[in-house]
Amino acid sequence: MIKIENLNKIFNENTKREFHALKNINLEIKNSSCVILKGISGSGKSTLLSIIGTLLKPTSGSIVVENENIAKLPDLHASNFRAKRLGFIFQSYNLFDTLSVKDNVSIALIPLGFNQKQIDEMVLKALELANISHKKDELVYNLSGGEKQRCAIARAIVNNPKIILCDEPTANLDYDNSIIFIETLKILKNLNKTIIVATHDPIFDNLNFVDDVINIKNGIICE
């Protein structure tokens, strides 16, 4: 379970450009649930996602995941947490264009110290689940938008994470690919993963596997 208490994030503190992105966020996300963070651009949902993903450190407050406050973890432990427990899917995919699909997915496993055989196995499994194993040796450069997103999904799940964070995943996809993406999310939910999606895409309204919709406006949760 992810428990967020009194989370605050202020950018450029004590300068003219001070910006209070998140104000006193209190949130509880149960295990294996799927949560949508809804809000327009600039509402703070991406910031919240980044802080949950330990890519950003909060100004104050705590995030407790399985009895551990991950908000202030030092780098070694934070990256360990990310490598073992988290999977990211970004709006702009964030893949290495000059590497193949297989290599892009393998990168996530390097810090975990597996040997070559294990890595190959896990990568293959992830590629199949994301439905992109037929393009495993293709350079990402040559893929279409939907295929790139599937590659990103494979990378996000290859390390068998408990939590998957998606930041505007369908923003660069057309309608068909967005539907495919949502289908994949359903599969992941059935694998008991906790999924948090930050989006303002209306396609996520009224999905039956979504447990909770949280609206964020100006850094505060509203109902």
Partner: protein, 322 residues
């Protein structure tokens, strides 16, 4: 004096020392900030910045240790080469004794290597914890090491500029030899008693390492280091050179003896290092280091094996002892 400074190896040695010094100075500069302002509990961006700079300091110290480990035998090698242009010296022993600074410099270099090793162990313990508990202590210790290195660099220059190429120095047969008036074996022991003590203390170190009694193990290992130095110089070295009158701790570093000297001294150093670390680190961090006992036994055993190997080889080849 200029001949010393123009010797190729010395130029490169000094050049490397200076580069390391510049890097360490940068690390020192940042360490002062870290010590002043480090507060893990705070979540200001300043604190996060400090965390990032601490990684830089750690990186620099890591790099420095590796380079200094290489530089130490290279220093011995360049001193060896200097013996060609210093009258009377035939190996590094004579060059070291050329003036008063030589022996202190050598000892200081060893101490610095020890300290950096201890620092790295404390660092790895610190990073394992989620709250980086030893950070302030760690960087204060680094400042102490930096002071030592400052002294070392000054001593380097003082030592090298005071080696005279006109006055002859004593060579090892005079310093260590059978008829020497120099360092005598401590407690006026005879050679056989010294060797007996050597093996006895070695067994004792194994025992205290297995028992993991920190303080006693530490003291016994230090004593072993002391006895081992004399044993190697006055007894085992004669079997390496196969000459009963050649007693010298430096000549075995040369090519003719397959550089065995580096192995012998480094295994002794490592064995003692791990024994010291098993005592010092718990004192500084309240954490026990159980693996270091094993390493101490391992390296001490290799050291004793190497020494005994030469002894036994001579015996089997020639049927008698020297």
């Amino acid at each position: 004096m200029s001949e010393i400074f123009l010797s190729n190896e010395i130029i490169i040695y000094l050049f490397t020392q200076i580069i390391l010094f510049i890097l360490l100075f940068i690390a020192f500069y940042f360490s002062t900030f870290i010590i002043k302002n480090w507060n893990y509990e705070k979540t200001t961006s300043k604190q996060y910045k400090l965390e990032k700079t601490s990684y830089l300091v750690i990186l620099i110290i890591f790099f420095t240790l590796i380079v200094k480990i290489f530089l130490f035998p290279y220093f011995a090698y360049s001193l060896d080469n200097l013996s060609h242009i210093i009258p009377g010296a035939m190996c590094a022993a004579g060059v070291i004794k050329a003036n008063n600074y030589g022996e202190i410099l050598l000892a200081l270099k060893l101490i610095i290597l020890f300290c950096i090793g201890v620092w790295l162990i404390i660092n790895s313990l610190d990073l394992k914890e989620k709250i980086y508990p030893y950070t302030k202590r760690k960087f204060a210790f680094f400042i102490f090491i930096f002071a030592l290195i400052l002294i070392e660099t000054t001593l380097d220059i003082l030592y090298l500029s005071n080696i005279s190429t006109k006055e002859p120095v004593m060579c090892c047969s005079v310093i260590f030899g059978v008829n020497s008036t120099g360092n005598k074996i401590p407690f006026d022991l005879s050679i056989s008693m010294l060797i007996g003590l050597f093996y006895l203390i070695y067994l004792l170190t194994i025992f205290t390492n297995i028992q993991k009694v920190q303080l006693i193990n530490f003291l016994v290992n230090l004593f072993f280091l002391y006895i081992a130095y004399y044993s190697v110089t006055y007894f085992f070295s004669t079997y390496i050179y196969q000459l009963p009158t050649h007693q010298c701790p430096f000549c075995m570093l040369q090519k003719e003896y397959y550089f065995i000297g580096y192995f012998i001294w480094s295994t002794l150093f490592l064995g003692t290092f791990f024994a010291i670390v098993s005592f010092v680190v718990p004192k500084l961090t309240n954490k026990d280091l159980n693996y270091s006992f094993k390493y101490s036994i391992f390296f001490n055993s290799i050291f004793v094996f190497l020494c005994s190997f030469y002894l036994l080889r001579y015996y089997f080849l020639n049927g008698v002892f020297l």
